[in-house]
Amino acid sequence: MDWLATLFSDYTVRIVMLGCALLGFTAGALGVFALLRRQSLLGDAISHAALPGVAIAFLLTGSRDPLVLVLGALVSGWIGTLVVSAITRSTRLREDSALGIVLSVFFGIGLVMLVIVNKLPTAGKAGLSTFLFGNASTMLASDVRTICILGLACLLCLFLFWKEFKLISFDPQFAASTGLPERLLDTSLTTLIVLAIVIGLQAVGVVLMSALVVAPAAAARQFSDRLFVVVMLGGLFGALSGVAGAGMSASIEKLPTGPVIVVFASIITVLAILLAPHRGLLPEYLRQLASRRRIETQRVLQALYRLVETDPDPYRAHDANVLQVVGLRSARHTIAAMQDLGWVERTEDRGWIRLTQAGWLEVQRSVQQREGPH
């Protein structure tokens, strides 16, 4: 655990982790809105579309200033979303095709420009390639400062226009009918999502950034039915993934940050989808199993009633195989469970089943329930 201690004592690494935590929180929190507004794929297109912007911003200014690069990414990401809506409005292509076109075309242009940038003899070109898969360890204090200012600005806007953003995400038409500037709010919220994406590009990379928008949000949705809680959880999961990714890639050489962050975010999401108390698959399966068991138990109890109802002695033993005749082929497990409850017992000689006193009471209750009160 030595490396862990050095990790948290190293000032540079701490700064980088702070940056990754904040960009993870921003992406996770705004990702919830992207998820609810069905804009998850848009996030993927935006992050890929941002790449040419980064390269162009560098070519034009020759500077690696984070604000300049983020601004370039923002403009080009925004142009990407405008092209998506222009394609869907003016052609017969659907949105998914438009997203696919924008994603691949912009990304292709971006890659070509990266090669051009790398061939330039200019100093400081190093670092632009990290925008592909992200490398948090290349982040400088100035990068982190930019991330912090923009991330906090995003979160402040989210806080200030909380009820408006909630309303336009749930029911935009109603929002417009009350006189709220629905178009403007919609554009603003999309801009915040774009901003949350572009501030993460250096650390996470354009290829995988959308995962940090989608995965924590999807995990958070599993745990709560309150928007505020979901947004906070989304932020928390995003921040955790960011810190874990930055920490691991800082301590293992040549490990890019983006993939590690995404792996962490995915693990959280998979666990959430499987295990979340109400919406998780496993609890859901267990609930179904329990209810199937209850139904099966009722059926066995009623079959037993039919066996003994004409018999003066309800505690007479019977061969369990008779249950097969009334369609209870797989009653073995149910009978074992009922044995555990002390409702039936097996005779020692032939292993036949016989109701106990408690079992006979249960049979009568089950029949009464079925026939209803008289």
Binding site: K163, F174, S177, L180, D225, V230
Partner: protein
Amino acid sequence: MSRHVIPAIKVEDITVAYRETPVLWDVDVEVPPGVLMAVVGPNGAGKTTLLKSILGLIRPAAGRVFINGKPVNRQRRLIGYVPQRSSVDWDFPTTALDVVMMGRYAELGWFRRPGKKERELAMQALERVGMTDFANRQISQLSGGQQQRVFLARALVQDSEIYFLDEPFAGVDVTTEKAIVAILKELRERGRTLLVVHHDLSTLAEYFDWVLLLNVRAIAAGPVVTTATPELLARTYGGRSAYLGGNQAGEKVQ
């Protein structure tokens, strides 16, 4: 009408087209204040489009809308709206009470959060629609009828003068339908004006006092008794109406 009354809703020459296909063609309607008016017509007649055009949610190719004599954009506070239930995602992480409070957001204005007063108003509205017990339920756990009641409660807290309801009876059970009708009639008794997209001609006369017959064009508008005649209904539905003098068995035989 000899006495001149400013209509609650006045629609002038509204024309809406999607890709050169007219959905509404030169529609003129005047809705007098204080009536409970149905908009009926076959599927694709433009009923929802008319409502959205009046509310300014769709920009018509031509035409103007006046609410109490003024352009709709200056009269937003007078308007209450119940969209089609299917127009939103009911898996949204929020509660019934929260949805109803959304009806107060515009009144609250920017930067102010709903507080105790909004909560009380929302609870009162939920009580009027018989949903008090479901206030804190996640909205996807409500039945279709309950969801429709929540939407109605949200419009009630808007406390508007003029209400627009898009198919409030779609997919709800009889109990809910009667409960909604009772509330609509109560609103009318208190002088509110209501424009309701409706589908079921057999309940038209029972629920509504005015009607607009719409099929891309406005076929006729006026009191139900004088307007929903077999002849005009036949023109609205292209001669294939089930409502021919109340002879409902006729349709089945054909």
